[in-house]
């Protein structure tokens, strides 16, 4: 697919040193953070939208698959070049172009990491709200493509609530401006909405306009301990039913607690069924009362202990288990798989029970982490990639998990995306008509279907 004349053209566009074809360099662009692999034919480093546009023009004329890539931290295969072709690496487009504090807007290149943006706006008393767990390394382009979530999601929303525009390179190489810094007033279709979470299928964003929010002035942090996961789940519902929307509501199960305690020895309750990390923020006035209410609710719903942080250091300590959860689990086995099936909040206890059951049925250790406030699970399935038989069981657990999530009125993915990792399950979530429709939308943007070809929406048996 990528012939010599294409390579020559790529060299002309970005310079020889930015076009890689050696077996060794291609090998390191076969993966992202998921379990999927693909073989690129050429890797290209780009510096600006014009280069990307030229590459897209070339690729679409020759129908060469293109995979845009930032940090390559995607958990669903979004950056994996499964169909070969060109990988466009955008890590060098990493400038923060503008911060406008009073207008509460920032413009960044897609290679800027989420955390770099956070750090840049913090001195102005502003926050970019979406805080995916990968924020220190995931890039804004990727956040946009996957509609990344994070712990603050339940109160402050997701990426789609905070990106208001972009410069976009279409698959045919045209550059267009989507949305803008201003709240829309003209009679226009909301293309911005369609693009966020579109997994790099509809275009490549080259400038991203972000909305900034005044930083909450204060917070209160609590850690509640429970005998059972169910009790923790009921507390979550009860807190929200009271009208309190915490900015953090994180659930951790017994396996996680023990993994962290074994590693760090910080005095976690190793017999507990679950712990709940809860944080409320906003104006300082009234936070104490909210915290008191929450603690009461927790106790009424079976909490055996509730701690309230009295200062920044104690807050840090309460956060330790959550912060170190994935690291702690990662130590227990060579590999782990983190899914993000999501269910309506009240169904959380039920699906947690199911995960436990699956863990026993298939004899796999699974640690449970959840953004409990929005029903977003993160079961961490432990395994060894080299053990093929075990991998088969992992796949069965995944399938069962997705089945259950959908049955409970939920979704396959809350924030990691469908990509390649969940492609086969999309047929459980949508009927053939719906899948055909999605494909038509995609083809409207990318008639030659080269951008992240084959991801997100199945293109077999979905003749548009």
């Amino acid at each position: 697919m990528v012939d010599q004349s294409t390579l020559n053209e790529l060299v002309r566009i970005v310079g020889r040193e930015n076009v890689l074809t050696s077996k060794v360099s291609l090998n390191t662009y076969m993966y992202d953070a998921s379990l999927v692999y693909g073989q690129p034919e050429v890797v290209v480093y780009v510096q600006n939208a014009q280069q990307i546009a030229a590459i897209m023009k070339l690729a679409s004329s020759k129908k060469i698959p293109v995979t845009p890539r930032g940090g390559g931290t995607c958990l669903s295969g979004g950056a994996v070049p499964q169909r070969g072709g060109i990988v466009i690496v955008m890590t060098r487009m990493n400038r923060i172009l503008e911060i406008d504090p009073e207008n509460r807007v920032a413009v960044v290149e897609p290679g800027v990491t989420n955390m770099e943006l956070q750090k840049a706006v913090a001195p102005y008393g502003l926050v970019y709200m979406p805080d995916p767990a990968s924020q220190k390394v995931s890039t804004m382009g990727g956040n946009l493509g996957e509609n990344s979530g994070g712990m603050r999601g339940i109160k402050y929303g997701l990426t789609r609530d905070h990106i208001i525009g972009m410069e976009l390179v279409l698959s045919n190489g045209e550059i267009v401006q989507i949305g803008g810094k201003l709240e829309p007033i003209a009679q226009e279709l909301n293309l911005n909405a369609l693009l966020i979470g579109s997994e790099g299928n509809l275009g490549i964003a080259t400038k991203i306009i972000c909305k900034l929010t005044p930083a909450p002035r204060a917070n209160r942090t609590m850690l509640a301990t429970y005998k059972t996961l169910e009790d923790a789940g009921t507390s979550v519902s009860a807190i929200i039913a009271r009208g309190i929307i915490p900015c953090t509501l994180e659930l951790m199960d017994n396996k996680i607690i023990n993994a962290v305690e074994d590693w760090l020895h910080i005095g976690l309750p190793v017999d507990a069924g679950a712990i709940l990390l809860i944080e409320v923020d906003g104006w300082d006035a009234g936070l104490d009362r909210q915290a008191q209410q929450i603690m009461e609710i927790c106790r009424e719903n079976g909490a055996t202990d509730v701690k309230l942080a009295k200062n920044a250091k104690e807050r840090d300590d309460l956060w330790t288990a959550r912060r170190m959860a994935i690291g702690a689990i990662g130590r227990l086995a060579p590999n782990y798989d983190m899914e993000d099936a999501t269910v309506p909040r009240t169904k959380l206890p039920e699906i947690l029970k199911e995960v436990n059951r699956l863990s026993q049925e298939y004899n796999l250790a699974i640690g449970m982490l959840a953004h409990a406030g929005d029903g977003n699970l993160h079961p961490l399935v432990l395994f060894d990639e080299r053990n093929k038989e075990q991998m088969e069981r992992v796949e069965k657990v995944r399938a069962a998990l997705f089945r259950k999530a959908l049955d409970l009125g939920g979704t396959l993915s809350g924030e990691h995306g469908i990509g390649l990792a969940k492609l086969e399950f999309v047929r459980w979530a949508f009927n053939p008509e719906e899948l055909r429709f999605l494909r038509r939308v995609r083809l409207a943007f990318d008639p030659s279907e080269i951008l992240n070809a084959g991801k997100t929406v199945p293109d077999t048996d979905t003749a548009a």
Partner: protein, 431 residues
């Protein structure tokens, strides 16, 4: 016994490709390239282990394995605690075992660094080069441009003093009247030849604190050899140093080079299974202390004269991650009256010096250094203090190249100055 590359299979499969190392890997930050990232290097090493590549016959893999700073930042941040720096070193040892190092490297490691007299001769030759006009010629005729990375690295060299530390020892070593402690000082290659004035400060500071210092004969600590996979030489040097130091009955083996400190400490691991040297190495390693670490432990005099300056500190990789030394140097700096201590952003990020890295990978090391200089600029400090001569050389070069009006200095030099200022203040004769 040092584990060989293949024996690390269980460690290498632990990488989940999460990419969290991207936050802290300096070579990744400077290039944006996957193969210049811990995760990418792991990938290539694992693919080699699984037979997709022959590690010893792939120049590109070799290149990526050697572009690693060995700074260890990835290990600290990795959720799965993958020991990438150790894996890289094992890979290098594997490559060296099969191919040997290129001649200039072999010459430098075996022929010069492992022979202190030759090293000193070489240093003196460089000094001649610097003072004779040859340097002026080399710089202005473009000759250096012909030497690639080495030519660029020429600017790193400090002005080499006339006498090494060892040559100065008779004037410097003075047994305190009432010594509280007795330590052996390890004179590292760089300190001895390039920064003897720093070592002098260290010795003066120790003696000021009533610590008797002896300076045994020693050879290179072996860290450069380990970095180039010269395992045999590394072990040979370790044994040589152990043999030399065992003759002295001291409480501690102290050095003001963080790299040497880490390297000497590592002897315990290196010779763990050696029947003859094992126990000696354990005993030795337990005594190894970095200079500020030692002073913090045994206490140091607080009566000092002022050093009126804003000071910040750069954490050498070998100190902060190698030996987990973070507070002690800061404690010392903050105890000096007149010093306004300011914390530098990313103070524990590698400066790009990484031993000989700035010579073999000059361009990349400078890009990494540029980030350090950006961070330094924001402190507004007049002194950029550190505790490793390799860092010292790299940082001084950075201040020069970026035209920053500040001075790179060793912690011991500032402490020495403070003690001297007290002597002046109190009317005693200035040293």
């Amino acid at each position: 016994m040092v584990k060989t590359f293949r024996q690390y299979e269980e460690d290498i499969v632990r990488c989940n490709r999460c990419g969290f190392c991207e936050e802290v890997c300096p070579t990744y930050k400077a290039t944006g390239e996957e193969f210049s990232l811990a995760r990418g290097r792991n990938r290539l090493m694992r693919q080699s282990m699984e037979g997709h590549f022959d590690l010893t016959k792939e120049p590109e893999i070799n290149h990526h394995i050697y572009s690693c700073l060995l700074c260890g930042a990835c290990v600290v941040t990795c959720p799965s605690s993958v020991i990438t720096d150790t894996l890289v070193k094992a890979a290098r040892a594997e490559i060296t075992r099969a191919n040997g190092n290129p001649f200039p490297i072999r010459m430098a490691l075996r022929g010069v660094l492992a022979r202190q007299r030759r090293l000193t001769l070489g240093a003196k030759a460089l000094r001649f080069y610097q003072r004779s006009g040859a340097r002026w010629l080399a710089r202005h005729t473009g000759f250096l441009g012909l030497l690639g990375s080495l030519g660029k690295a020429e600017g790193l060299l400090p002005d080499i003093p006339a006498r090494t530390l060892r040559e100065r020892l008779p004037e410097v070593l003075k047994k305190p009247l009432k010594p509280r402690h007795k330590v052996a000082y390890f004179a590292g290659c760089m300190m001895n030849n390039f920064f003897p004035q720093v070592a002098e400060s260290t010795l003066r500071v120790f003696q000021e604190n009533d610590i008797e210092v002896v300076v045994p004969v020693s050879n290179c600590c072996g860290i450069p050899h380990e970095a180039y996979g010269e395992t045999e030489m590394h072990i040979k040097l370790a044994k040589e140093n152990l043999d030399s130091f065992k003759r002295f009955n001291v409480e501690a083996v102290v050095t003001d080079c963080a790299s040497c400190a880490h390297g000497l400490h590592y002897y315990a691991e290196l010779l763990k299974d050696d029947p003859e040297y094992g126990p000696l190495a354990q005993e030795f390693a337990a005594k190894v202390k970095e200079a500020s670490q030692y002073l913090a432990e045994v206490g140091f005099k607080k009566e000092m004269g002022p050093v009126n300056a804003t000071v910040t500190y750069h954490d050498p990789c070998h100190a902060v991650r190698g030996l987990k030394i973070k507070n002690e140097p800061r404690q010392i700096l903050k105890s000096i009256p007149g010093v306004k201590f300011v914390e530098m952003n990313e103070s524990d990020w590698c400066c790009g010096g990484a031993g000989s890295y700035n010579v073999t990978h000059y361009d990349l090391s400078q890009r990494i250094l540029a980030r350090k200089m950006e961070n330094f600029k924001k402190t507004g400090a007049q002194y950029l203090a550190t505790s490793c001569p390799a860092c010292l050389m790299q940082l001084a070069h950075g201040l020069d190249v970026h035209h920053l009006p500040a001075r790179a200095i060793h912690v011991m030099q500032l402490l020495d100055q403070a003690y001297q200022n007290r002597a002046v203040k109190s009317g005693a004769r200035a040293v």
